[in-house]
Symmetry: C2
Subunit: 501 residues, 2 copies
Amino acid sequence: MSAYEELITSVKETSLLRSTMAVLGWDQRTKMPPGGVEQRSNQLALLARLTHERATDPHVGELLAHCESDTALTSDAHSDSAANLREIRRGYDRATKLPSDHVEENARTHAIAEHHWEEARAKSDFTLYEPWLEKNIDLARKTAEFYGWESDEEPWDALAEGFEPGMRARQIESVFTPLRDRLQALVSDLGSASRKPSTQVRDVRLPIDTQMAFVTKIAEGIGFDFSRGRIDTTVHPFCSGTHPGDVRITTRFSESMFFDALTATMHETGHGIYEQGLPVEHNGTPLGRAVSLGIHESQSRMWENFVGRSLPFWRWCRPLVEADLGISQLSAEEIYEGMNVVEPDFIRVEADEATYNLHIMVRFELERALMNGDLAAADVPHEWNRRYKEYLGVDVPNDAVGCLQDVHWSGGAFGYFPTYTLGNLYAAQIFEKIREDITDIDGQFERGEFGPLKTWLNENLHVHGSRYVPSELCERLTGKPLSADALLRHLERKLRPLYGL
Amino acid sequence: MSAYEELITSVKETSLLRSTMAVLGWDQRTKMPPGGVEQRSNQLALLARLTHERATDPHVGELLAHCESDTALTSDAHSDSAANLREIRRGYDRATKLPSDHVEENARTHAIAEHHWEEARAKSDFTLYEPWLEKNIDLARKTAEFYGWESDEEPWDALAEGFEPGMRARQIESVFTPLRDRLQALVSDLGSASRKPSTQVRDVRLPIDTQMAFVTKIAEGIGFDFSRGRIDTTVHPFCSGTHPGDVRITTRFSESMFFDALTATMHETGHGIYEQGLPVEHNGTPLGRAVSLGIHESQSRMWENFVGRSLPFWRWCRPLVEADLGISQLSAEEIYEGMNVVEPDFIRVEADEATYNLHIMVRFELERALMNGDLAAADVPHEWNRRYKEYLGVDVPNDAVGCLQDVHWSGGAFGYFPTYTLGNLYAAQIFEKIREDITDIDGQFERGEFGPLKTWLNENLHVHGSRYVPSELCERLTGKPLSADALLRHLERKLRPLYGL
C-alpha cells in the first residue's frame, strides 16, 4: 500500500467512527427517551475521544508529510490527491491543537447542556440553562485559545474557521454593516407602503399527521430520495448526513403553522439533496464531503426561498394543496403573497427572507462579544432583547422565543450563525447564474419539474465535494467573488411589487 | 486506583462502546433507510473490531489474574467483586479465543445477510438468502472451532454457551424428548375433544394506529416506564436495552391480528421491564447485566402468557378494549378462550403456549445438524417442512412463513432458539413460587394491579443482574432445580378445561 493509500484508509476509518456519532446525535434529538441522556453523553464522549485519538495519531502526520513531498500527488492543485491532502492537512493541524481530555469534556458537556437547554426552553426559564451556557462559553474560549489567532484576528475567528474556512469576524462585519443598512431601509419602505400582501395563509389550521404526509410528498417531489433517507420531527430541525445512502432530515409542526413547516422541510430537503448528491466513491474523504456550512446553507436556502417561496412553485403546488389538504379558498397568488410578507418578529426560523439576516446579526454580535469576554452568560437575555428592539423594532416577550430559541450554543457551536447569511448570499448569486443556464426555469417550476435544477446543482456543485475552497467554488460557479448584490437585487425585485412599490 | 477499580473502569468502557452497537442495531431494524445498509455494516464491523480489541487487551487479562489472586475480592463467592470477576473471566476467556478479523468478518457478514434475509422473506424466495445462510453457517462453525468443545460435547454447545451458560445439546435433548411426548399427547387430546374454545377474537379488524395506541397503553399499564424507553415497529420484534434509562421494545402489527400484536408487545414489555429493573449503579459490569437469555425469556413469557393470556387479566382489560377500541361483542371469557386456542400452525411467534415448544424443537434439531455438518443450507427448507409435518402435522405453504420466518440465523445466532423453551420452563416454575408469595395475584390482575408482580420480580430477580449463574438463581428463587413439571402442570390445568376435558 502506498503512503497515500494508507493515509486515505486511515482517514476513511476515522470518518466512519465519526459517522456513528452522527447516528447517535440524530437519535438523541429525535428518538431517545429522556432517561437515556446520561448514557448518551458518555457514549458520545468516548467516541469523541477515540475519534480524536485517531485523527491526531502522529503516524497520520508522518503519512501526510510524506505525501506532501511527492509532487506527483500535489502538482495539480485540483487533482483528487492534492485536494484531499490540502483538506486532511487543515483538519489534522486543527485537531492536533486540541488535547484529548478537552475534546472529551466538550462532547460530554454539550450533550448535557443540550438536555438542559431543551428543558429551559420548554419552561421558558433561562436560569435553568445559564450555568450550562456559561460552561459552554468557557469551553469555547479555551478551544479558541488552543487553536490560536493572529494579531489582526480575534477568538471568534479561530472557531468560525471550523465552519467556514477563511471567514473572519472583521470581514463579516464589513459585509453585514452595509447589508443591515439596506435591509433596514427596505423593511422600512415596505412597512410604510399602502398596499399590504394577503395574510390569509395564517388562517389555515391542519392536523399534524396531514401536514407530515404532505411535506413528505413535497420533499420527494422536489428530489429527495427516500430510499436513501428519512424524515422525522424534532425540536430544532436539522439534516444529518454521513453517507449519500443515509441522509436524515427533520422538521417540526404546529397545527396553525403549516406553511412554516413546509418551508422548514424544503430547507432541510435542500441540505439533504446536497448530501445525497455528494460522490459516494469519495465517502469518508474530503472529496466526498460538503465544502463549508455557508455553501451547505446556500443549498437549503435555494430550495426554501428561490423555489418554495416563488410564484411558479405555488402555481404547481396549489392544486395539490387543494386535493390533499382541502384548502380551496386560497389562490396560488394569495399563498405566494402570504409566504413573502415582511414582518419583523422574534423567531429566526420563522423569519421572512429580508429580516432573517437581521436575526443573524444579533447572534453574530453577541457571540463575538461572548468570545472576547465582553459579555457574560447572565447578560445574554438583556443584550439579546435590546438588539431585537434596535434592529427589528420588536419586544421579545419571553426567553423561550428569545435567546433560548436556538440549539447552537447549547451544542458549543459559536461562530456558526453567520454561515446562514453567507448561505443567503451564495444562494442568490448562484441562482442568478442558474437562471442564465436554465432559461425556462420558471416554466419548469410551474410544471413541477425540479429535475433540471437538481441536476445543475448535482453536476456543478455537489459532485465536487471539498475539491475547491468556498471562495474558489463561488468564482467557478458564478464567475465572481461573493457579494451582497445578488441577494439585495432578488429581495428588492420580489418584495417591492408585493407592497405596490 | 486499585487493580479491581482499573479492571471495572476498563470493562465499563468496553461495555459503553458495545452499547453504541446496540443503538446502531436498533436503528438498522427500525429506522434506517435501505440505502444505509453498506455504511451500517462497515460501522458495525469497525465497532466490533474496536470492542473486541478492548475486550481482549492482554492488560485486562493481567488485571483479572491479579484480582483473582486477592482473596479479599473472591472469598465470598456472591460478593460484588467475586461475581464480577467470575463473569469477566468467562467473557475474557471466550473473547480471547476469537481472532479480531474473524469477529469483524462476522459483524459485516451478519449485517448484509440480515438485509438479504429481509428481501428473501418479503419475496418468499429462499434462493436469495441461501448463499448468505451458507456463509453464516461456515462462520458459525469456525466460531465453534475457535471456542472448542470437550470430547462429550459438540460444536453447537460451544455456541450455546454464549447464550445460556452451562447448557449442552445432550441435556436439552434429554428434556425436550419427554416434553415433546407429553405435549404431543396433550395437543392430540385437545384436538379430539368435543368442546372447542371460542375463536371470535379472530374476526376483529383494527387500524394499525389504533392498535399501536392501545398496546402502548397496556405496556405502560403493566409497568413499562416510557420516560426510560420507547416502542417502535419492526419486521421481527425485539427488545434492545443497554442501560436501565434507555430500553427500546419493538412490535409488529397486522389489521387482522390485533391480539397477536398485543401478546407480542407484552412479551417484549416483559424483556423491557427486566432491563429497566437492572441495578443502574452496576451498569456496564456483569452485576448490571441480565444473567442469560433463558432467564430473560422467562420474564417475557411471564408477562405474555401468565399475565396476558390469563382470565383475570382479561376481566381487567376487557372494559378498556370496549372503551378504546369499540369491541363490545366479546366477553372477557371469549377473549380469554380465543387467546388460548391450541392449534398447530407454522408461525412460531404466533403459536399458542403448548405447540410453541414444538416449533423450538424443529429449530434446535436443524441447527444442531447444521453445526455438526450433517445438513447443508440448501436442504434447510425441505428438512424444515418435513419436521413441521411430523411434529405439528402441518404443511408449510411457502418459505416466507417457513424457514425464512426468523431473523436469528441471518444474524449468526445459532444455539439461541432453545432459550425460548427454557424461558417457558423457568417462567412456569418461578410463577408457581410467586403464587405462593402473592396469594391475591388473580384479584390484583382483575383490578389492574400489576405493581406487586413487577416489584417481586424487581426485588428477587432483576436486582441481582448476573450475581448468580442461571441454575443457582433458579434454585434460589424456587427452591428447586429446573424441570418441565411446572410448565406441564400449568398447561394441563389451563387448557384441558377450555376443551371440556
